[in-house]
Symmetry: C2
Amino acid sequence: MPRSKGKKSSAPVTIHDVAERAGVAISSISRVLSGHPDVSERMRIKVQKAADELGYEPDFFAQSLRSGATKTIGFIMRDISNPFFGVIAQCCEQELRKAGYSMLLMNSDGDVATESTNIAQLRRRKIDGLIASLVSEDIPELNSTLEKLNAPVVLLDREVVGLNSSAILANHHQGVEDATVDLISRGHKRIAFISGSTRVYTTRDRLKGFKSAFKKAGIAYPTDLVSLGKFDAEFGESETKRLFTLKDRPTALLSGGIGSTAGAMRGLKKLGLVPGKDLAFVAIDEWPMFDVYGQQFSSVYRDAAMMGREAAAALLEMISGGSPRTIMVETHYIVRESSTGGLKAKKK
Amino acid sequence: MPRSKGKKSSAPVTIHDVAERAGVAISSISRVLSGHPDVSERMRIKVQKAADELGYEPDFFAQSLRSGATKTIGFIMRDISNPFFGVIAQCCEQELRKAGYSMLLMNSDGDVATESTNIAQLRRRKIDGLIASLVSEDIPELNSTLEKLNAPVVLLDREVVGLNSSAILANHHQGVEDATVDLISRGHKRIAFISGSTRVYTTRDRLKGFKSAFKKAGIAYPTDLVSLGKFDAEFGESETKRLFTLKDRPTALLSGGIGSTAGAMRGLKKLGLVPGKDLAFVAIDEWPMFDVYGQQFSSVYRDAAMMGREAAAALLEMISGGSPRTIMVETHYIVRESSTGGLKAKKK
DNA sequence: GCATAAAATAGAAACGTTTCCAGAAACGAT
DNA sequence: ATCGTTTCTGGAAACGTTTCTATTTTATGC
């Protein structure tokens, strides 16, 4: 008689309790509840009844320990408070939940060490899959770290060579190129470009679009106005201030990533420069509500919700044996007020 | 000889492997690694060495199954893509991670049924604690559902009577009252008020501040201009349109919650009404970047980051045996351009 | 009715830990 | 030396499942 007789009603009910109540073996309980085919109708009913009466809920840890599947997906982002990532996370979680998976969320704070600690933690938790927006693509031990996870991986906006993972990539260069072409056609030559680290695809692909627009126009791109470093607001702000106090100051600005854009806007404000008037301005990635704020900001738009859904879909596919694949998400240049200005009434 | 000899190098290394390598019992491994005091220096070194050499990482599920502690915190929000909740989640996760906990994130999508499914899921996963912003406070079975979790709970901006949980409450009424008093003092009487469901503390406390401002001014508050229902943008937009096309249309608007505000702003835009000119406008809760957008929006501000940190702290405290407590977070009325306008050049 | 196959069930061995218990070694005091 | 303590260690029993194997029951074909 291993377990006390209902003394504490709060003691969780286990598979043994159900077996005792139904008068059958615990293996039969397991079989019924997991939908095993070799089960008689009589048994099914008897077990179901006992389980319902006791309000039995299988213990997750015991199940996972035995079966190996944890029904848990790791999700690593630089910073979930970034609304762009927030939308991705939300859509992703919805899809995963529908499929019976739960999401373990971790912020990397943009720090390589934190990220690697997080991955280690997720490995110990035996996650069934990982969705991540990595801090950097060229960490030496990255591939082995991810492979040791022994679980499918979906990367968001990252290209890691030699890794057998799926990827959701945005076609940044197209949108940025369109925007830059437009600015050039309006007469701009001194166009500033601020984005994050070149250690990630995002920045490299945006830069590609920027350069290619200048190439098409047959003019050299302004190397002194390209500032690549970090994605955070501080960097965006200080670089904006630096660039727009240069002797030969830019007439237009493209700022990349939601953090950079926030910083750039603050910087401009402090300099007393108004987008759409004192300079032309295009934000790469939209802040929520970009469409309704008083000031109309142009942008290079991409659909975060779709990226989240696609990431979930790709991961679930791999979990059920599918092969990794790369999904390309388009970006679109959206022209609003702020694309004008900056050219001292040259045309009007 | 229960386990194969290093045939597959990818086979995870268990406590048995370490024991074998160090030539000691598995119980000793466990004792060393969990920092048990009754362990000799010689043993400690020997075990540590073997564990390091093999790169041993304890299996999380086995640990949890045996010890009962999961080092996992559930986190339920209406919608993580809401930047306000995003900031809370981010700060919360940071604090919890520092303490060795991981965060299981679930969106309730503002739906009672989904929320309850999520809680059930978290119960099966035996979480050590829950932080939640509930859909509603008056669900009949809510208390028992949460108590069955058998884990400490911290509620965000919710008051559930008879539940032994901590709560992080924002002092909404103060900020809203200040804002309303200011609007009244500027000459407004027809002030519209849009916020979410009265089934949660948030709305009720805001309404309290709104009413109390009118009481102080000695005038009746405009019951026909108070619209309480949902927190989402659709509601905010349609109600704004309805209220501002009334015969006796309001001259000012307070919109509550980040979603409502988004909707309200869209609605105003579609009506061609400009905040700060055609009406006075105060947002309750700030969107990120409120300080830099071209249009300057007044707001009732509260510190989301602090709420996140406090929530984590309160939960960790309860996990280590502390008692539940209620933390009040102040709100502040921040006056910007949009507080002006709406009064047909009455004063100038 | 009987042999044979198929279906259903029970029992027990995992899964990888922690923790309890008992025994061995070390230590000081007599 | 001997005896009690204390300190340390090994063995084994949990934790709550799933799954393998063996056994019993039922169905099938003659």
